[in-house]
Structures are given as C-alpha cells and as structure tokens.
C-alpha cells in the first residue's frame, strides 16, 4: 500500500510499504478515508522526539471504513464508518476503567523506553514513534487498529467525514483540556495557541459555560478563524500586551483557567524565544516552554493551568515559584479520547461542535509532503492539511 513515511529529520516521502495485518484477535483493519496533520507531528518531523526510524508511517488523527476484523471484535463489522481515537487503549486496565485512557497499561508494546524517560509508560499512539508503541500511522491507505471495540467509534449518518475526522484527536484533546482544567459557568478562560487543538479547547470552554474565552496566537488568520467560527475573543501576542489584556479582561484577577495548547516548539516575540531556541538546539533543554510559562504567570491566584501541548522531556526556567505561591492547580495529559468521543459525535450531529473549518487544505496522499511543508511553514493560511488516501 501507499503511505507517507518519515525518512529522517524534515524528510518525508510517499512510498509503498507492506499492508497491515491483523495481529491480535481484537484488531481491525481500517481503510483510511481521511487523515489529518497535527501540530504534534512537527515534533516528530523535526527530529525533536528521537524515537523514530526511517520508514515509520506518520499520522494519528483519522477516519475510515472497517475492512477486516479479528474474531474478538464484537461492536464493529466490515463496512462500518468509524473514527478512531489516536491513543491505543485496552479499556480493561485500571487506568482505562478510571477513564484515563491515554495512561493505558496495555496499549504500548515498548514500555521500557518511556519508563526510563518518564518513569512510567503511557498507552500507545498511532504514528507517534517507537516510544509510544511503534504503531504505523494513518497517513496510509490502510491501518491496523488494536482493541478496535475500545478505540473505534461508528460515525452517525448525519455527521460528515469532514466533521467527524476531528473527533479522532483535536476535538477530544481540546475538550479534555477544558474539562479536566475544571472550566465551569462564569469562568474566564485563556487558551494559548489557535491551532486545531487550541480552537477545540476554546470551543469546549464556551460549551461548558465559560463567560469569556480568549485565544492567544500570533497568526491573524487563525485568530480571525477563532472569532468567526467559535465566537471567542482573541489576542495577538505580537501586537498586544498579553498580560495586561488578560488582567483587564478578567477584572484584574487573571483568567480562572489557562490552557496551553502549543507544546515544545513554542514561539514568542521577545528575547526569550532565542534563549529557548538556542538551548533547545544545543540540547541543553529539550522543549521550549514559552507558552506554558505565560499560562502559569498569567493565571489568577488559585486558578487552574492545563498543559495540552505535547512536551517530550526537560524545560528550563520553569516558574515553579508561581505555581506554588499562587496556589495553582497544574495538570496535563495526552487525550483520553475514548471518554469523550461518543459525546462529541452527538454534539457534532446536533451542530454544536463544527470543526471542519480547521481543514483549510484537502489533498491526496501523494501530495502529503507538500501538505506538511505548508502546515509547518503555515503557508497559504494552512491550519490543518487533510489527506485522502482512499475515497
């Protein structure tokens, strides 16, 4: 089959790879109809997560049609149109039963790597390096889906492919950030990052009853998109004083909830960007936590900060003093999608959650390297590039 593979840092190619096979009785094989770039792929693409091999298939956010099922798959059959959670989770271990699906004990076939790096292994993730199981990604014609009854969800007829695609990762990740950060009616919520996940977190905050939601970025097209499609306020950090604006817009208190949806390649307009960039390139720190610092600094006393952006390792100048002395609640997670996807599909069916505006560019799989280049460089207003490996 045809797939988009990682060939080395910032090198992608579309080439033939072996078709996936059923490896477990709870597996399914899905023919991929739509698969989309994610900001976290850029960390892999750029070589910031050093657990990739030449030939690894990228992609973890996708939708398709089941073409083969293992004998223990009970809830799905050949022909089902499904959206698949990006995390591989068994649904049976203690963490899954606590609805912390991305922490699954059984979904990662290479647990020792992350046990050494992080002290414990999270579940697996499609197309997200050998640290998270080495599962082939979704930028391919077909993909193997382990624990298919747990991770694949039948899409209601009234929800289009274009809309349901984002129930795979961006929408549940964003919803989880707002939910686990404790957003409640009346809150002022600030979201750093107007990419797909940041926009979905902002929309979730609106739907959870937040009084004001403020999205922060430097790209006007994304901020305009957030205003138009989500009904939220925005701040351009290259043109406005973020701290001053957040204080004024929250009655001098600071936001109740701050959600970081940027991750380890954060930008800023100040000298701190170069400070972190130099240290990251010299491997003195692995991640640039600029937005995380700002979220902590600007959060109100006793407020809540949630880290949704992907971080891999160690950061420098982390404002632990602010966390402690302001009595903040700091939390983060990879997405527990199985917990939210059914509810999100219902909201999509009712028209409450309409994320297809994120798909600014749709192209064939053959065009995927160009799509990633547009996505990475943010060319032509690219927010997300969607690939259609099969129709």
């Amino acid at each position: 089959m045809k797939a988009l593979v990682w060939e080395g840092a910032n090198e992608l190619a579309v080439r033939q790879v072996p078709d996936p096979q059923l490896r477990n009785e709870q597996d399914a094989i899905v023919r991929v109809r739509r698969t989309v770039t994610c900001g976290s792929d850029l960390h892999l693409l750029g070589g910031y997560i050093p657990f990739m091999e030449r030939g690894d298939v990228l992609g973890h956010e996708f939708l398709g049609e089941i073409v083969e099922v293992g004998p223990q798959v009970r809830n799905h059959k050949v022909g089902d149109r499904v959206v698949v959670c990006s995390f591989v989770s068994c649904g049976k271990c203690w963490y899954c039963q606590q609805q912390q699906f991305s922490l699954c004990d059984n979904g990662n076939t290479n647990p020792m790597i992350t046990e050494n790096v992080w002290g414990a292994a999270p579940g697996g993730c499609y197309g997200y390096s050998h640290a998270l199981g080495g599962f082939a990604g979704s930028h391919a014609e077909y993909i193997r889906v382990p624990y298919a009854d747990q991770g694949a969800f039948t899409v209601p007829d009234e929800v289009s492919d274009e809309r349901a695609l984002f129930a795979s990762d961006a929408a549940p990740t964003g919803w989880m950030g707002a939910d686990l950060a404790g957003v409640k009616p009346g809150d002022v919520v600030a979201v750093w990052g107007a990419g797909g996940v940041g926009q979905m977190a902002a929309r979730a905050a609106v739907l959870l009853g937040a009084d004001r939601v403020i999205v922060i970025d430097r790209l006007d097209n994304r901020l305009q998109m957030a205003q138009t499609h989500l009904g939220v306020e925005t701040l351009n950090y290259e043109q406005q004083d973020v701290s001053g604006e957040l204080l004024e817009r929250s009655g001098g208190r600071g936001p109740d909830v701050c959600i970081e949806a940027v991750g380890m390649e954060s930008h800023s307009s100040g000298p701190q960007f170069w400070y972190d960039q130099v240290k990251q390139q010299l491997r003195i720190e692995s991640d640039r936590p600029i937005a995380a610092r700002e979220a902590i600094y600007n959060c109100r006393k006793g407020g809540s900060v949630f880290i949704l952006g992907v971080f891999a390792g160690l950061v420098d100048k982390f404002p632990l003093g602010a966390v402690m002395n302001k009595g903040l609640t700091l939390r983060g997670a990879q997405q527990h999608g199985q917990r939210y996807i059914p509810m999100l599909l219902e909201r999509m069916a009712r028209g409450e959650l309409v994320p297809e505006h994120l798909a600014t560019h749709t192209m064939t799989l053959d065009e995927a390297p160009r799509g990633y280049e547009m996505f990475k460089q943010k060319l032509d207003g690219c927010v997300r590039a969607v690939f259609q490996p099969t129709s």
Partner: protein
Amino acid sequence: MRWLIGGAVVVAGGVVARRLLGGTDQGDGHRQRGQARRRGPQWHVATVNRPAGDVAPGGQLPEPLAGLGDAVEVQLRPAPGDQGTEIAVRLRDGSRLPVAAAARRATGRDPEQAIRAALRESKQLIETSEVLHPDYPPTTEPTPMNKPLRMATQQGRREGRL
C-alpha cells in the same frame, strides 16, 4: 538537524546501556550501597486489575508465569485502593553477580527478564485476554542511525514494568 537526531540516538543508546549494566533497580529494596557486588533475588511486582480469584483461578497461574515452574517464588496480595491484585515474583535461586547478569541481559538470557516478560504477558492476558503484538510486517528498515533505538525496542519488549 541531523546532528540533533544523532545526539538523541546517543541518549537512547545510553538508556539501553543503563538498562543493560544497571539492571532494573525498581522494586529492589534489598540493594544497598556497598552491597552491589553480589545481589540477592529481586522481587518483580505488577498490579493486575482483577481480584486474586481471577488471577489464579483454582490456584493456577496464567501460562507465562506457570511456565517458569519451580524456578520462581510467586506471591499474590490485594492491591491497596481497590486496584486489583499485586503479583510478586522472584527467583528461588540465590544471589547473582552484576557483571554476569549484565552479560545475560545483553544476550537476552537473563532470568530476571524472563520474569518481567512473564509478568507483563500475564497481566495482559488476565486483563485483556491476549498479549498485544507490535505491527507486522514493519514499514521501517535498519540503518546505522536507528541501531541503538532498535536495540532499545528489542530490550523493551523483553522487560519493562508493564
């Protein structure tokens, strides 16, 4: 950026080396400074999200652990906080030299690895009824750059806490 990848691979290789030479200190409450030359049998413990009756119905352990036979000592106890059952396993045989253990570990013949793999597989069998396999056939190819990572992955499938 290639040098950056190379540096990262060195780090990954270091992880492997640490694992090979240092062993799995987790859970080893017996090892102390000054006593490293010869170590007693180490307990390996995993928590299974099932009551003890499901872990060893009729006293019969799942095959990966039962296959270790009399070479190991097995204890079952309830996990606190209603988190299931803790399975603790250690070699019955006495102490071992770290250097010899490292050599066995490097060649995949360390009995401690067999215990760890048996625990992982037993936990998966009990909780999910099967052991999750990696994708096959692979889409990747071996290169000099990914050799340390492939070693780490191979090692990771032999042991690891989970």
